[in-house]
Symmetry: C2
């Protein structure tokens, strides 16, 4: 596997979060010579929020998490496996979920409904949960909260990812003299990535003192402009899961019981930053990518229309291949704006690549410099600005190009 050109030279050191420990192991679910099972152990009093795929063929773990979230209780454990998505596995899939939750509950000392589950990997193959459930006792015993535990956890959930994805933020709700809040997150990509809720697997942990209700409110409003504005291939997974856990162990910070409380807006802003960091990391490891692409659409009817146009550009195979070919092919951008189905004024459309204006008022810019645009397209990070000339709705979407690497990875992923 070729490393993404955006892979970091070193993984960031994540600070510990009190009330949270991890352990991982190689359970041999599908991969050989790497870890594929991760357990997060959460102290009593941990609140939880989540957003899950809107797919009509959701996986068994997604349905399990949805049930737990609806019930509104807390969280004591998170079990994630890679190599098998436990999706489209019928009754056996539900049984695998039940067995895993019960084993984790026993290992951690909680109710099965306090165990959250996520699986990623091949769809349609039964998941032999009984084979790895015996390992959970040992994982619970060995779990650690240090920096190495964080990177081990991020690595265990990877599938076709070429690097582990970790992000961290700190905020001081009451100023320097008070306590602070840590938010850490891990995520995985890197194919079957398209936003229709959360996309991919991502787990965010904080020591904030916050109710489940307020946590869900913060997550629901921040996921829209972060994970839901990121796409690799337009293929929405059956297993998209983003869970957010708050252990409530931060000292000297106020308790947030509802979105009206002081400190909520600040927490939500920090959460949005870390979710954006993570979404960009996933896009920067899109299968086979050679370039990372930011698409800013302005002048649309509203944010939702701007996002739809930006996604139409981001998911267009012709736009993606043009970028791979380092071709400032604005004609394909015009096409993708046109097919999005949202209002756009053909005769007021403007397009720039990296600030180089290529089109204005519905035709090529008078001063367009093809050589400059072509030179810009050689950069690893490409920014495309589009103004559709209707109103003031704006949105940003992150994606990557479509290369021979994507074909190579996906034409023989399963076999």
């Amino acid at each position: 596997m070729t490393l993404s050109p955006f892979a970091p030279s070193a993984l960031p050191d994540l600070p510990p979060i009190e009330g949270l420990r991890f352990a991982t192991c190689a359970a041999g679910i599908k991969y050989h010579g790497r870890t594929d099972l991760m357990l997060a152990v959460l102290d009593e009093g941990t609140s939880v929020a989540g957003v899950l795929t809107t797919s009509k063929t959701s996986s068994a773990p997604v349905l399990w998490c949805r049930g737990n979230l609806r019930r509104g209780g807390g969280a004591r454990a998170l079990v994630v496996n890679s190599g098998n998505a436990n999706a489209f596995t019928g009754k056996r899939g539900q049984e695998a979920v039940q067995i895993t939750a019960e084993a984790a509950a026993q290992a951690v000392g909680c109710a099965p409904q306090e165990v959250f589950l996520a699986s990623t990997g091949v769809i349609g193959e039964p998941l032999a949960a009984d084979k790895f459930c015996g390992l959970l006792d040992g994982l619970a015993r060995d779990a650690q909260g240090d920096s190495a535990a964080w990177s081990d956890a991020a690595r265990a959930i990877m599938t076709t990812d070429t690097y582990a994805k970790l992000a961290t933020r700190k905020l001081k709700p009451g100023g320097q003299e008070r306590g602070d809040i840590t938010i850490n997150g891990i995520a995985k990509g890197s194919g079957m990535i398209a936003p229709d809720m959360a996309t991919t697997l991502a787990f965010v942990f904080t020591d904030a003192r916050i109710s489940g209700e307020a946590l869900q409110a913060a997550l629901s409003r921040t996921v829209r402009k972060t994970f839901n504005c990121m796409t690799v291939d337009g293929d929405t997974s059956t297993s998209d899961t983003l869970l957010l856990f708050a252990t409530g162990k931060a000292a000297g910070v106020p308790y947030i019981s509802s979105p009206a409380d002081p400190g909520f807006a600040e927490f939500a802003a920090a959460l949005e930053q870390i979710l954006r960091d993570m979404a960009i990391m996933v896009a920067k490891d899109g299968e086979g990518l050679s370039k990372f692409v930011t698409i800013n659409v302005a002048g649309a009817e509203n944010w939702a229309a701007a996002r739809k146009i930006a996604l139409s550009i981001a998911n267009s195979p012709l736009v993606k291949t043009a970028i791979a070919g380092e071709d400032p092919n604005w004609g394909r951008i015009v096409m993708a704006v046109g097919k999005a189905g949202e209002a756009a004024d053909r005769d007021r459309l403007g397009i720039s690549f990296g600030g180089i204006e290529v089109a204005r008022d519905g035709e090529r810019s008078p001063g367009y410099d093809e050589a400059a645009a072509a030179a810009y397209m050689k950069n690893p990070e490409i920014v495309i600005d589009v103004d559709v000339g209707i109103a003031s709705g704006a949105a940003t979407v992150w994606t990557c190009d479509l290369t021979h690497g994507y074909i190579s990875i996906n034409a023989d992923y399963r076999s």
Copy 2:
């Protein structure tokens, strides 16, 4: 350019249609060493119908044709150029259309509003119509109606097509003892092909005696299940144009003035057959394809829901690459059903490849034979049957796989 594996060894001989002649030439618009300009001359009394792209960034010729069709007059000429789409060319694009229509009108001896236009090729480059308009007089003088003229016309409108697309049908509305009606068509692909009306350029000609109103009714109802059920890459063009011309010269056949008239249903049925032939020909020449794929979805809420699910499967990069890799990866079909947004019962879903059942009732079939499915996937033509288990809506969509060839063609098409 690698020839499509479905390219015919010889082009079909199309019978002449009275009242219709073609001429082509190499105008040097973009390509060298090939024809790129086509003129069809139609006798007085020719009625016309059309369906045009729904893109919000329609090309100048599309807007011109839409105006002509709305006006409701007849047709006397069709001018098509390849190499430049005259799309996103602003005022200059409209001027190029006006100049071309006036030159063709003068060459043929009709009003500019009786001239229909279509352009295909690069988007965003101004079309220098003045350079080729001088050629139209000569083309009008030299136009022929024989079989060679048909294949020349089909070749002149090609862009990345690897073979010319021609189809023909005959019908005898009154039985053997009466006269017959001929319908001939030419079309081009083979990228930026996704159905949102007609997709691509296609021109159908008949000698039927039929009003413009009845012709439009026949076209509108038959395009839904033919051209609008075909996709190569999900990218809807700015220039999609399907025009249908009837010279009214057939002898011994009744005049069809409205859809209620005898003979209309029979004509529409023959039209549907030829449009289906042409749509399949376009999919079989999809850019870089190695396999032609037919997707039958059943058990959906209605036809529109079934079509949407089938298109979600057909446009999924992960499904398309799995087929390229000869992998019977039903998990990706499940994903694509799930993301389509239409009702589907995950626990009643059934999937077959070429009649080999791989999944039933939401999980892998008990008797699934992986070796047989893998052997089937080696065929050049793949049929996928999906039952989503809700109601009785069914639809068929035609597409192709996604290969390294598509990337190669599109990562340096413009430069």
